[in-house]
């Protein structure tokens, strides 16, 4: 079993950043169908800053410190809608991880993901079904909460949670957006997968791979 200490959380953040950047063009394309085509760019800019901050962390940082550095990086660099959402999410994650030397339990991550999703909802005021990243995140949170009760390895739990998020992201296709610029298109935005939900799935996959120390 891996020991998910602050250093590994930091490494995971760097991996998340890499994955997001690899998906930049795809995320922009999705956003371009109904929005302004910049989602992949905003996420890349934010995660590049997160990555830089993670690399600057001391080796003995706590998980909470690592997550808070991500929040701070987002705060200054990104703006847009997604900036405050991820800033709040990472800050809430840091809060949820506070006092912990490591995040080795599925329950740790369940509470972190829950805190992140809640924070995003608090800032963005979106409801389930509004066709936002929450439509990927909330199902993922429910999923990992179930796994925390059931038990199993952390690696497997994070991976299947990321998969759950991706499936949910794909399901946003049928939703009519209620928030952000896509909402102005109404039914015209139906049929397109939500960009933010898709990037959220990429982020969760990044954490899963980072924690299980796998490469891709």
């Amino acid at each position: 079993m891996v020991n998910v200490d602050g250093a590994l959380v930091a490494k995971s953040l760097i991996l998340v950043a890499k994955k997001v950047e690899q998906n930049k063009d795809h995320l922009c394309e999705l956003d371009g169908e109904v929005g302004d085509g910049d989602h992949g760019v905003s996420m890349t800019i934010g995660m590049r800053a997160v990555s830089r901050a993670a690399k600057d962390l001391p080796a003995d940082c706590t998980p909470s410190e690592a997550l808070q550095s991500a929040a701070d990086a987002y705060a200054d660099e990104v703006g847009a809608t997604i900036g405050p959402l991820y800033e709040a999410a990472f800050a809430a994650a840091a809060q949820a991880a506070n006092g912990k030397k490591n995040l080795n339990e599925i329950a740790d991550w369940a509470s972190i993901y829950q805190a992140m999703a809640d924070a995003i909802q608090q800032v963005g005021k979106a409801q389930l079904g509004d066709k936002t990243l929450l439509d990927a995140f909330f199902p993922a949170v429910e999923h990992i909460k179930g796994l925390a009760k059931k038990g199993g390895t952390l690696e497997a739990a994070l991976l299947s949670t990321a998969e759950r998020a991706l499936k949910a992201a794909k399901d946003t296709r049928n939703l009519v957006p209620q928030k952000g610029r896509a909402s102005r298109l109404g039914d015209r935005a139906k049929g397109y997968q939500d960009a933010g939900a898709t990037s959220l799935a990429v982020v969760l996959k990044g954490f899963a791979d980072g924690v299980s120390k796998r490469k891709s």
Binding site: K24, G32, G37, D38, G79, A80, T81, R181
Partner: protein, 331 residues
């Protein structure tokens, strides 16, 4: 993608650097992504802070200077600035008379400016906000609060800046800005999309025989896609939408025929010709007219038409104020 840039991720940084150097008589830098009038804070004057995503020049930073805005925050391309540069601009322009934020109605801007407002109020600065929502076609009238802000920003800020220049109180500046916004309507049409540099591909694709009615200022799709047809008939449709939304008959107006960035000025004058004919038919008197790129979307081709229904106060404010901002001058 072909653009006059280096690394696409450096565009905003390098653009800001060039913008500052080119306008150093008018503005100073007050943060990595924030500027203020060189002589800020101006004693007794309400500070007007504008901002939003980059890619809309002259909006927003281009309007910092005498007669319009006091400070601005730069976001990334088409992305609202974070709270930080807004706060920096606020601190730089606050003379004690208070600060007004005014920007287009986009979720990202609202979230980030509100955050800045909260923080600045905590610091004891009087901050008020007027969010602008002139784009008729972006939501039905019953949901006007959801409409986004586009070309009409320029007309509203003309009024707001003039009022603040007279050293009016924060309440007065807010009131006249809200009034100008309530009397401003815009409709737009896009011929092409545009390319976010770090994206590298156009945001969407419009076939060579289709245009988007109701297009915004981010290259995002508009309200409906129609076949290309003569511009007069398109302008007729746009003006119908404006005139159906607010009663302009027999009133005085300030008018903007706005270019979206990639459209030649020649075409904007062809548009103005038709707009003027329609105004005349509706006994609308054009007191101030502007034809040019004021609120753009990178190299997007298209236009928007904005009408601000004037009362005596707004008319005289515009008339009597010299404007000398980075990118817009009125002698």
């Amino acid at each position: 993608m072909k653009k006059l840039i280096n690394d696409p991720f450096d565009v905003v940084e390098e653009m800001v650097e060039g913008f500052l150097a080119a306008n150093d008589q008018i503005i100073k830098r007050v943060g990595k992504r924030s500027i203020a009038r060189a002589n800020s804070p101006i004693a007794g004057k309400v500070g007007i802070v504008v901002g939003g995503g980059s890619g809309h020049l002259p909006a927003f930073a281009g309007y910092v200077g005498k007669g319009m805005a006091d400070g601005a925050a730069f976001g990334n391309i088409f992305a609202s600035p974070p709270a930080k540069p807004v706060i920096e601009a606020t601190l730089a322009v606050d003379s004690g008379a208070g600060v007004m934020y005014t920007y287009g109605n986009y979720q990202g801007d609202c979230i980030n400016f509100d955050k800045a407002q909260d923080k600045c109020r905590e610091m004891g600065i009087k901050v008020e906000t007027v969010v602008l929502n002139d784009d008729v076609l972006s939501a039905p009238k019953a949901q006007a609060h959801k409409r986004r802000g586009i070309g009409g920003l320029f007309l509203v800020w003309h009024v707001a800046g003039a009022k603040a220049e007279q050293l009016a109180s924060l309440d007065e500046v807010v009131a006249v800005t809200a009034k100008a916004n309530a009397n401003t309507r815009t409709v737009g049409v896009g011929l092409t999309s545009c390319t976010v540099p770090a994206n590298g591909a156009p945001t969407f694709f419009l076939p060579d025989n289709e245009i988007e009615i109701g297009l915004g200022i981010h290259g995002e799709p508009g309200m409906k896609r129609v076949k290309v047809r003569p511009i007069d008939s398109i302008i007729d449709e746009l003006m119908d939408a404006i005139l159906a939304d607010l009663d302009y008959k027999g009133t005085d107006v300030a008018l903007l025929v706005n270019g979206l960035g990639g459209t030649p000025a020649e075409e904007l004058y062809v548009v103005y010709r038709r707009v003027k004919q329609i105004c005349e038919a509706n006994k609308i008197k054009i007191k101030f007219k502007h034809v040019g790129n004021q609120v753009t979307a990178l190299e997007m081709q298209g236009t928007s038409v904005s009408l601000l229904r004037l009362d005596t106060e707004m008319h005289d404010l515009i008339k009597n104020t010299t404007v000398d901002t980075c990118m817009y001058k009125k002698v």
